[in-house]
Amino acid sequence: MKKSYQSLEVNLISNMKKVVHRKLGKNILSLGLIILLTLTTSLSAQDGDPAKGKSLFNANCAACHKLDKKMTGPALRNVEQRLSETEGLDRDWIYAWIKNSSGVIKSGDAYANKIYNEFGGAAMTAFPQFSNADIDNILAYTAEVKKEPAAAVAPVAASGAAQTGASSGISNEIILGALAVLFMLLAAGLFLVNKTLRRFAEAQNIDLPESTERTPLWKAFIKNQFLMFVVAIFFLLSSAYFVYGYLSQVGVDQGYEPVQPIHYSHRIHAGDNGIDCKYCHSSARVSKHSGIPSLNVCMNCHKSIYEVAPSTATEEYSKEFYDGEIQKLYKAVGWNDADQKYTGKTQPVKWVRIHNLPDFVYFNHSQHVSVAGVECQKCHGPVEEMEVMYQYSPLTMGWCIECHRSTNVKVKDNAYYDKIHEELSKKYGVENLTAAQMGGLECGKCHY
């Protein structure tokens, strides 16, 4: 315990010193100090705690490093072992590097400069706040043996499920067949019983009641003209109703859920990760179009997110499936994940447009999103739950008008509305004006 305190103290001092020195511009001195400090504390080096290391790694390192994959920085699995085996560098070097990488580079260290150039001449962020113990913990984490992914189990499970599914199918058929046979036997039995009874009756000369010829129901129905008339009208009206219903759904694509070239899951992005809609659809704030994000927006995150967490996978879509979709993105944007470089070969993605308004309708997203402050979900539905995006609303004129009639105009803190709202609300005798009262039902507001 004492040691850790001590190291914290040291840490603090070095921090302060560093600030001062930066101001003075005496980098070499600070480097010397750090080396001195690391030398003294290196005596107390010990194997760390991988669990603590993992949390430190995720908080500080994961933005640029993965354990098994080159990213902004090199892959770090067994880094200590690798360095000592191939470069002959010890843990002290690692301490120095992590705490002040640029200092190490400046000192002319061969390997430091090699790494520095290999990764595009960007020095690693310095972590002077780390104690050696922290670094030990991280190194312990990186030294953990790679766990075999659980994915191997999944196919077995899946095939098992498929098998059980198949077997249940067979058993259903057997049961149904057996039932059918049973019913046939029953029917045959009844027929035989009936036949036998009749034979008994004949034998005992019992008169069986003869069924009298009665007018069949349908003939009586035909003869009743009034009933016919009523029924005809009923049929005509109901068929008209259905034809009308059919025709009015022509061109209404509610529920339209096309297959997209890349399986993009809004559930993962907007739901699980809680990314704001307007982070990607940024033009919705200022433009008539919400805008399909260009691929460079995807790459803001997906440069470092090259795979999904195992927990993201669902029964329907496996982790491999999602990772494959990310690869599709890389292909489209021309990103070589291995080299962490753009190849320049791009293949624009041809998304299938889901919400299609006719040309004669003018709709402006910014009016609704920025001015009225309408939630995206109001029209687009629970997008954050949609694995595959679909058209939630009918997008018919009636639907637009319904909302314009019932929605109040957001006038607060908007100088544009001050005068008109005061005058109009007085005129209509209401406190809050609806969009309709503001003129939102006029033909020419949307059709021009």
């Binding site: 041809k350 004669f360 006029e442 033909c443 020419g444 507001k445 059709h447």
Partner: protein, 1029 residues
């Protein structure tokens, strides 16, 4: 067998041994069916791999697919950017300042781009230079999307690469370097400091280089005169806003005279302010825009113009003129001279006579007047051509003295009267290159066609006036494999900088004087040091004025037999370089209101004498005779248009038509008048004989007179306006209610209830008939903004033109509208009305002219709205009359009930019908469409919306910013395009707005006010300054 009956079909069957019956049993048809013939070409059929079964499969599949497609909506693909440029947000327009400088039109403009596509040209209001966007400049954006543009460099018609082009041409140029034969650059006027510098570098490298500047419509006389007097090859600059008395002798300064761009200054003083407005006297032969706007117009022949100018000179500067003019003209000249002298420094005289002596007189007169409107320190640089140099070049070419000819922005084989000499000479030139947008008449005869980019794809700089610079920047990446002239010059001189960098360094070293290049680029204009040094260093061959210019001018007047022809340029077509632009072809000429044509304008008296006529045919269209006109042995067969106001003994013909190469068949209209443009003189002696046949014109308005209907165009004189009460000259019409005369504006005589329109916005558009010169920028701006289709000549003839905004032109049948009114008042009795109304239908020989832009009047009590059976047209709270196209079923009741005839019906699907091969039915041309306005379908009515997409955009921007809208923010396409201040748009509920004040102005009236439609478009009464000296 139940029956033994035998049924037979013909008696032939009774004959048991009939061969026919036997054959018919085997064969349904006696003869072989000619299936092969029926199916057409046998060879093709046999060669085809499609079997009958396959064919049926395809039919079945396509039918099924078509019916499936009808049930299901189409799958729409959206393709986002891979890397979205920072400045582009889909759905938001970007504006770039740039400059058009095509050798004929020079203007600073703003280009509206959407998703990277330029879609509209607007005025750059920051530009303190001459020349705002006229109709042609507004239409120039469509030239970018011309499908017939040259798509890459070619050699003798075969496509080559730029590297091949560079290698071959450099080699050829090197071979000519320092040789006995000259290398000639024949170019348009660039007025570009950077290009000048570049050309001098080119000269330095090759030595024997000559740069010949060629203006297809020459201003050489004015340039020579200015150069002789002020030592600089430029044009005198006039600011008509500083003139109260303007006398013009044959100068259409509201049109294309000396490069144009003078109209906005002119209009400033035409609006009566504190009882004062300018006085404009026009002496001219053809009826021009300037003549139509003049307070007093004197028609006279071109030869008489020279005498008139000499006389004006003698009255103002001194001297004596012997020659006589007809009495009325003589008096008018004298009166004009007196008015000019009286005005002194507030007077100005301009002339369009193509004679160096005449132009010298003009400079002398203005100097003598000490005219403030005439500013010699900032001359206009947009014309620099020299007729003599061009003539010398053609002669040298024929003599085989030219080694290489490199052309840019010129089309001499089309625009030279001696084009045959030129093309003959061209064959003797060992290297000929044309930098051109098109494989036009010239470029198709040169060895190399170097595909040039449109100005919206180019870099450039222009010195519009001395010290007034403008920059051209690309607004889109080149659509085709093009390279501009200057970049190629840089390659030839062995430099590897781009022209952009070259401009930047030139500006940095000589023009900017420390100011920021980026700011200049953002603004598009830069006003530098006006006292910059004289740049005309070359020894050009010019024509020097005579020592006694007046005498020399008078000596040049020869009495000749026959007619005097004045060649002019039309507002729509200019010099003809945009002939493949359907907007401009369909643009009706402001004076004759005829589209798709040029024609010989002639006075009625002369036409009657020659037996030429115009007649109206049954469907209301105009037909005209043909005439053969001969100048110097060159004959042309031209249609004849009777033009009120045309001076007797004179005729007019427009240049810029009759192109044959580089344009679609539909656009090959009119005759090429350049063939008559001998010696670059626009005035020619011509003999006219009637010719066979009848020409079909496409006029949108016939020779209509106002017939004394003062409720259409209200007009008064400055004197009455200043001295009398409003009710004398702008009375509100009255109707009788209970035998009481009640103004139609009062509610008790209204059929409809009045709505409260005092809350929110209420848009009004004010049109000042005094400031409107009829230039037509608004017509094209409306076309571009609202996706108005082009319908073609035949449809225009059927009155199916689609212009949402038209500029009506009215003639008076007496000498003035005032006299028309008097005549109408005095008509009494049946006999008198029969004869005199008939007389009034004919325009006067020298009529007064009035222009009136008319679009949907957005009536508050709209007659169209009440008759629509499906409520497709309705009224908005903001005053706009809405038109829901998707609701319209095309009954056309609304159009029939509209008193203003502003509704337009879509007779065809102009964007999808191959009969209409214009921009909307062309994949490239469609790029110009405004994505915010729907393209209307067949069978629906359309009309002006008061640019509701623009007003809604303005409102939305204000809402988003949470601010109040300032006056001037609301604009329509027409009001934004109007640089004369004639159209003012705004919200009349904003009491401080300009339009609200104009609505209360005494001059305000509504069109056909007695109908009681309460329009939201208001007009300002025209006031004419008829006060003689």
């Amino acid at each position: 067998m139940s029956s033994n009956k035998k049924y037979w079909k013909s008696v032939e069957e009774l004959n048991e041994n009939s061969s026919i019956v036997e054959t018919l049993k085997q064969n349904e048809f006696v003869e072989q069916i000619p299936t092969d013939e029926f199916l057409g070409d046998k060879d093709t059929l046999e060669a085809s791999t499609t079997t009958r079964r396959d064919f049926l499969k395809y039919v079945g599949f396509s039918t099924a697919a078509a019916s499936l497609a009808a049930c299901e909506g189409p799958v729409v693909k959206s393709i986002p950017y891979v890397v979205q440029p920072d400045e582009i947000i889909p759905g938001v327009a970007n504006y770039y300042a740039t400059t058009i400088a095509n050798g004929f039109d020079f203007a600073s403009v703003l280009v509206k781009t959407r998703e990277g596509r330029p879609i509209k040209i607007e005025n750059n209001t920051m530009a303190a230079t001459n020349g705002s966007a006229n109709a042609r400049v507004n239409a120039s954006v469509l030239g970018l999307y011309d499908s017939l543009r040259a798509q890459g460099p070619s050699k003798a018609g075969e496509a080559i690469s730029w590297s091949t082009f560079d290698a071959e041409t450099s080699k050829a140029l090197d071979a000519l370097k320092g040789g006995s034969k000259d290398i000639v650059l024949l170019t348009q006027t660039f007025a570009s400091p950077s290009t000048s510098k570049l050309i001098s570098q080119f000269k330095e490298k090759y030595g024997n280089v000559r740069h010949v500047v060629y203006d297809s419509v020459s201003e050489s006389a004015a340039l020579d005169a200015y150069q002789a007097k002020y030592g600089e090859r430029a044009l005198a600059n006039y600011d008509f806003s500083k003139a109260m008395t303007i006398v013009s002798v044959g100068a259409d300064f509201l049109g294309d005279w000396q490069g144009g761009g003078f109209d906005s200054g002119y209009s400033k003083n035409r609006i009566p302010d504190h009882g004062k407005m300018s006085r404009h006297v026009q002496f001219e032969s053809n009826m021009t825009l300037s003549g139509a706007n003049a307070d007093k117009r004197v028609p006279l022949k071109p030869s008489e113009q020279k005498i008139a100018l000499a006389k004006l000179h003698s009255y103002i500067v001194g001297g004596f003129v012997n020659q006589k003019l007809p009495e009325t003209i003589e008096a008018a000249v004298k009166s004009a001279a007196i008015q000019l002298k009286k005005a002194g420094s507030k007077g100005v005289l301009v002339s369009g006579i193509q004679d160096v002596n005449a132009q010298t007189l003009v400079l002398e007169i203005n100097a003598a007047l000490n005219s403030h409107a005439f500013n010699p320190s900032t001359p206009v640089k947009t014309r620099q051509g020299s007729d003599k140099e061009v003539a010398r070049l053609v002669a040298d070419m024929k003599a085989g003295k030219i080694g290489a000819l490199i052309m840019n922005g010129v089309n001499p084989i089309y625009t030279l009267s001696n084009a045959t000499d030129f093309s003959e000479g061209l064959k003797k030139v060992s290297l000929s290159i044309a930098f051109s947008l098109k494989a036009d008449e010239t470029a198709s005869q040169t060895q190399y066609l170097a595909a040039a980019p449109h100005y919206l794809e180019s870099w450039g700089d222009v010195e519009l006036k001395k010290g007034h610079y403008a920059l051209t920047q690309p607004t889109i990446r080149p659509l085709f494999d093009t390279r501009q002239f200057q970049d190629t010059l840089l390659k030839w001189v062995g430099s590897d900088v781009s022209y952009h960098d070259f401009i930047k360094s030139t500006w940095g070293s000589t023009i900017l004087g420390g100011s920021s290049f980026n700011t200049a680029l953002h603004d598009g204009v830069f006003v530098g040091n006006i006292t910059s040094e004289n740049t005309t260093s070359e020894n050009l061959e010019t024509e020097a004025p005579a020592s006694n210019a007046a005498n020399a001018l008078l000596n040049s007047v020869k009495s000749a037999k026959g007619f005097e022809l004045t060649l002019y340029t039309k507002t729509g077509m200019g010099d003809g370089q945009q002939a493949n632009n359907p907007w401009l072809q369909e643009f009706p000429d402001p004076i004759t209101r005829t589209s798709w044509d040029n024609y010989l304008t002639i006075s009625k008296a002369d036409a009657d004498a020659l037996g030429l006529m115009n007649k109206h045919v049954a469907d209301g269209a105009l037909n005209g005779s043909y005439a053969n006109i001969t100048v110097n042995g060159v004959s042309l067969k031209v249609p004849v248009m009777l033009q009120p106001g045309q001076a007797k003994g004179s005729v007019g013909l427009a240049l810029g038509y009759g192109k044959t190469l580089g344009l679609k068949e539909e656009m090959q209209t009119g005759v090429n008048a350049y063939a008559l443009y001998n010696n670059f003189n626009k005035v020619q002696n011509v003999s006219i004989t009637p010719a066979e046949g009848e020409h079909k014109f496409a006029s949108v308005q016939l020779h209509n007179t106002l017939m004394g209907r003062g409720d259409i165009i209200k007009e008064t004189t400055l004197e009455i306006f200043n001295t009398n009460d409003k009710k004398h000259w702008n009375a509100v019409p009255v109707v009788s209610l209970n035998h009481q005369e009640t103004p139609v504006t009062s509610p008790e005589v209204d059929l409809w209830d009045e709505f409260d329109r005092s809350i929110g916005h209420h848009f009004n558009l004010s049109i000042d008939l005094n400031a409107c010169t009829g230039c037509g920028s608004c017509v094209i701006a409306c076309h571009a903004e609202n996706n108005v289709p082009v319908v073609g000549k035949n449809e225009v003839r059927k009155s199916r033109d689609m212009h949402w905004l038209r500029i009506d032109r009215y003639y008076s049948s007496e000498t003035s509208f005032e006299n028309d009114n008097k005549k109408k008042e005095n008509i009494s009795g049946l006999g008198s009305s029969l004869s005199e109304f008939g007389e009034m239908e004919n325009a006067s020989a020298n009529p007064q002219v009035a222009f009136q832009p008319v679009m949907c009047q957005h009536c508050n009590h709209a007659p169209c709205e009440t008759v629509c059976p499906v409520a497709a047209t309705s009224h908005g709270k903001q005053g706009q009359n809405h038109m829901a196209y998707n609701r319209c079923v095309g009954t056309r009741y609304c159009a029939n009930n509209c008193p203003y005839k502003v509704r337009r019906f879509n007779w065809f699907l102009y964007n999808g019908n191959d009969e209409f091969d214009y921009h909307m039915n062309d994949d490239l041309g469609r790029m110009v469409l405004n994505p915010d306005v729907v393209v209307r379908s067949r069978g629906v009515m359309e009309k002006c919306s008061l640019c509701i997409q623009k007003t809604q955009k303005t409102i939305l921007d204000a809402k988003r910013d949470g601010r109040v809208i300032k006056d001037g923010e609301f604009q329509t396409a027409c009001s934004a395009a109007c640089n004369n201040g004639a159209m003012v748009f705004g919200d009349i509920n904003d009491k401080e707005s300009k339009v609200a004040k104009l609505k209360e102005d005494n001059r305000m009236y509504h069109l056909l006010e007695h109908v009681g439609t309460k329009p939201n478009v208001i007009y300002q009464t025209k006031v004419r300054n008829t006060t003689e000296a």
